[in-house]
């Protein structure tokens, strides 16, 4: 059977959270979809095995010269990431960027930390709150019904304890009481108007909360989805008569055979920067001139490690355990004159061992410390909003191509004093809270990791009502081409402290249902 002469209803490029949701929503509405994914299908029974680091040649260290830019990489997982020698990108010498990519079928939905938050109107209407940036063309009320449906699909656990900056959702309720150590932390935060809430995480099914087990099976069940792996899309093609996108050219990753497919509608879900790279390489959707602009993510890496003294020497069994999210409070309940917006704390009361880095000791003295402090750790790390700035952008590097002769992306972005001051404030507040709770601060860091580290890159195809200032409208639809949609994180108008997964899933669902409705009415 050949599929190349068939005109599909919708071509979906990418198979992660956003592509999977598009496939599920569209196919369940009776739309026939073709999904292309740039990499292979991962099968853990074939591609992985449980091993000891002592049986690996690099003893678990990341193999030198391999995925050097990925801080999360080690010898166990080095083969799941996109190799930057196969698909390179370029940066400014003084502006490092960690572009962390997965091209396996399911994309980065295979590997994520499951933190599941909604954006609030402090993010959707950010300019109205503090004058910086742009308001989104939608509000929380517009997205709330979709958030709820996504939360049920992903089985998000949490408590209905969110302040306005962290809207509650359709959760599997977590009504466990705080452990005594967490309660002491709550008691230290409350007088300072700092909210402490139960963590919110996607439980998924059978230990996984991914496109491949929660979304794509439903799409396949309809019989309306055809998928191709190892299809590296070179460019979106355009109908010469109408000027509208009508499919794409791709290269088979294994055989290097050049192929093409046709579709009435194109949905980009390749992951923020790959979707934007594809549009830039195709010369589409940029009448505004802001395609590739306003790249943002979140600052990670700053934090505090403390110890609960009463839990030392193995006395912490009834004191320790549990985790909390401290949603953004800066410039909401507690103002700062050093930065706009704010950050959240991930807070964990540990029951296991502390790392050796928390002690300025070695040898027998260090081993004694590790034994004494075992099960007493209390860790706070931040997730901070990065302001969307026009100058933080990506463009095509015309001097370099990837393994498929496709021009690569040049990424030019950096943090500013707003982000650095935010990290310093977080560590000062975190230390203050730990000390107020009676904990001993062991180590801290107030320097954010390089941009990209959070793997939460968003923006570059921002949505908005004004076609002169945005790439997409409020339905994730190109202002320039009515049959072109971008449903991944590229569409975000601005960021927030929140993990973006629930938002991009909800946006993809909302956009796809709008698209299906328009197609079924004959408008597309």
């Amino acid at each position: 059977m050949t599929i190349t002469n068939e005109i599909h209803d919708v071509l979906i490029i990418g198979s992660g959270h956003s592509g999977g949701m598009a496939a599920k929503s569209l196919t369940e509405a009776g739309i026939r979809c073709l999904m292309l994914n740039a990499g292979p299908v991962a099968d853990i029974t074939r591609d992985a095995e449980r091993l000891s680091a002592s049986d690996l040649p690099y003893r678990g260290f990341r193999p030198p010269g391999h995925v050097e830019h990925i801080a999360q990489a080690n010898e166990f997982n080095a083969n799941v990431w996109v190799d930057d020698q196969e698909v390179p990108y370029t940066i400014e010498p003084d502006h490092p960027y960690s572009w962390v990519r997965v091209r396996l079928f399911g994309g980065r939905s295979l590997f994520w930390s499951r933190q599941s938050f909604r954006l609030s109107d402090y993010e959707f209407k950010c300019k109205s709150h503090d004058g910086f940036g742009e308001d989104w063309p939608i509000s929380h009320a517009d997205l709330a019904p979709y958030y709820s449906r996504v939360e049920r699909i992903f089985r998000v656990a949490g408590a209905l304890d969110g302040p306005p900056q962290m809207p509650d959702g359709a959760f599997i309720l977590d009504d466990d009481p705080w452990t005594p150590s967490m309660q002491r932390f709550v008691d230290a935060a409350t007088p300072r108007n700092i909210p402490v809430c139960k963590q919110r995480r996607a439980l998924g099914v059978n230990g996984l909360a991914s496109s491949v087990n929660l979304l794509l099976p439903d799409a396949e069940q309809t019989g309306n989805l055809t998928s191709i792996a190892n299809a590296v899309v070179r460019e979106i093609t355009v109908d010469k008569n109408t000027g509208l996108p009508n499919g794409c050219n791709f290269v088979d990753r294994i055989t290097r055979r050049e192929m093409s497919v046709k579709a009435r509608v194109v949905v980009l879900a390749a992951g923020t920067l790959e979707s934007t790279r594809l549009l830039l390489n195709s010369g589409l959707a940029n009448s505004s001139g802001v395609l590739g602009r306003y790249l943002t993510d979140q600052i990670y890496g700053a934090g505090v490690v403390a110890s609960v003294p009463e839990a030392r020497n193995r006395k912490g069994e009834k004191l320790m355990g549990g985790s909390a999210i401290v949603p953004r409070f800066r410039n909401i309940s507690a103002k700062s004159d050093k930065f706009l917006r704010g950050y959240a704390f991930n807070t964990t009361s540990m029951t296991g061992g502390l790392g050796a880095r928390n002690f300025a000791a070695y040898g027998a003295e260090l081993e004694k410390k590790l034994e004494e402090y075992y099960g007493s750790g209390f860790v706070m790390t931040i997730m901070g909003e990065v302001l969307g700035r026009y100058e933080n952008h990506v463009r095509i590097d015309k001097d370099k191509v990837d393994a498929w002769d496709i021009p690569v992306l040049h990424i030019d972005t950096k943090y500013t004093d707003n982000e650095y001051n935010m990290a310093k404030d977080a560590v000062a507040i975190g230390s203050e809270l730990c000390e107020a709770a009676g904990f001993e601060v062991l180590s801290k860091n107030d320097v954010p990791n390089p941009p990209g580290y959070s793997i939460h890159e968003i923006g570059t195809c921002r949505m908005g009502d004004d076609p002169k200032k945005s790439v997409l409208n409020k339905w994730n639809q190109s202002h320039d081409h009515k049959n072109l949609f971008v449903v991944d994180g590229a569409s975000f108008t601005s960021g927030g402290w929140q993990n973006p997964t629930m938002t991009l899933l909800s946006l993809s669902m909302r956009s796809s249902e709008y698209l299906a409705n328009e197609m079924n009415k004959g408008n597309l």
Binding site: D55, G65, G363, K444
Partner: protein, 238 residues
């Protein structure tokens, strides 16, 4: 029947048909007679897999990166920072210095410079203070040179001040390399003693482009999540 199963079934028919066709061709009297057994039909899922050992466990290698002087210093430093304790082997017995020669020797230049510069500085400090090489210092003398530079740190942010960067990064690497050695893993860990890391190792993932490997034909596709927060190995910003 799911699409993947259907495709596998379809292709198995095609393969079977092709095999039958091939047999007809082999019986062609103009061709040489067939071998007693077709070459590729013997291996199956019950075929024993030979046991092999990592070369690192049984073989030796020459120094490739550090000078003999630097290796002497690194060996003494490794022994001081991670000596044998409570029945657990130390860094020297775990062959950690030679492993680091291999690891650092193929690492990016900034990391190489931290090690080369740091080992040379330790040697010069020993000569200046004790009139002898670092490799000849006793534990107290070595400690006098090391302790002023010990720092606490978290995440990927090792100290950046000169000397403290080397001491703390080397300490971290020496611990990880030792804990993840076969020698360490052979002695059970007690209490808070770290254990050799065990995790899901991903092989290079290339597609089964025919999708027909019979070993996996009846295995439902499944992928285990590997949260990014679970990574434990030290990494350093470039």
């Amino acid at each position: 029947m799911k699409r993947r199963d259907f495709v596998r079934t379809l292709v198995s028919f095609l393969v079977a048909g092709k095999a039958a066709f091939s047999q007809q061709r082999v019986s062609d009297p103009t061709l040489p007679p067939p071998a007693p057994v077709p070459w590729f039909t013997g291996l199956n899922s019950r075929t024993p897999i030979p046991a092999t050992e990592l070369a690192d466990h049984v073989a030796t290698a020459e120094l490739t990166f550090f000078t003999p002087m630097q290796m002497g210093t690194l060996t003494r430093l490794s022994d001081v920072l991670m000596p044998p304790l409570n029945g657990k082997p130390g860094a020297v017995k775990a062959q950690t210095p030679m492993f680091l020669d291999f690891l650092v020797g193929s690492a990016p230049e900034p990391r190489q410079k931290i090690y080369s510069g740091g080992l040379d500085w330790l040697e010069q400090s020993a000569q200046a203070k004790y009139k002898t090489g670092f490799a000849q210092l006793d534990d107290n003398e070595a400690g006098e040179l090391i302790k002023p530079w010990l720092r606490t740190w978290m995440n990927d942010h090792a100290p950046i001040e000169p000397h403290a960067d080397f001491i703390n990064i080397a300490h971290d690497d020496i611990r990880s390399a030792t804990v993840n050695s076969k020698t360490w893993g052979e002695v059970p860990s007690v209490g808070a003693e770290p254990s050799t890391e065990v995790d899901i190792y991903w092989l290079p993932i290339e597609p089964d482009i025919y999708g027909m490997n019979p070993a996996y034909a009846h295995t439902p596709p499944h992928v285990l999540a590997n949260p990014k927060g679970g990574q434990k190995m030290p990494v350093y910003s470039r």
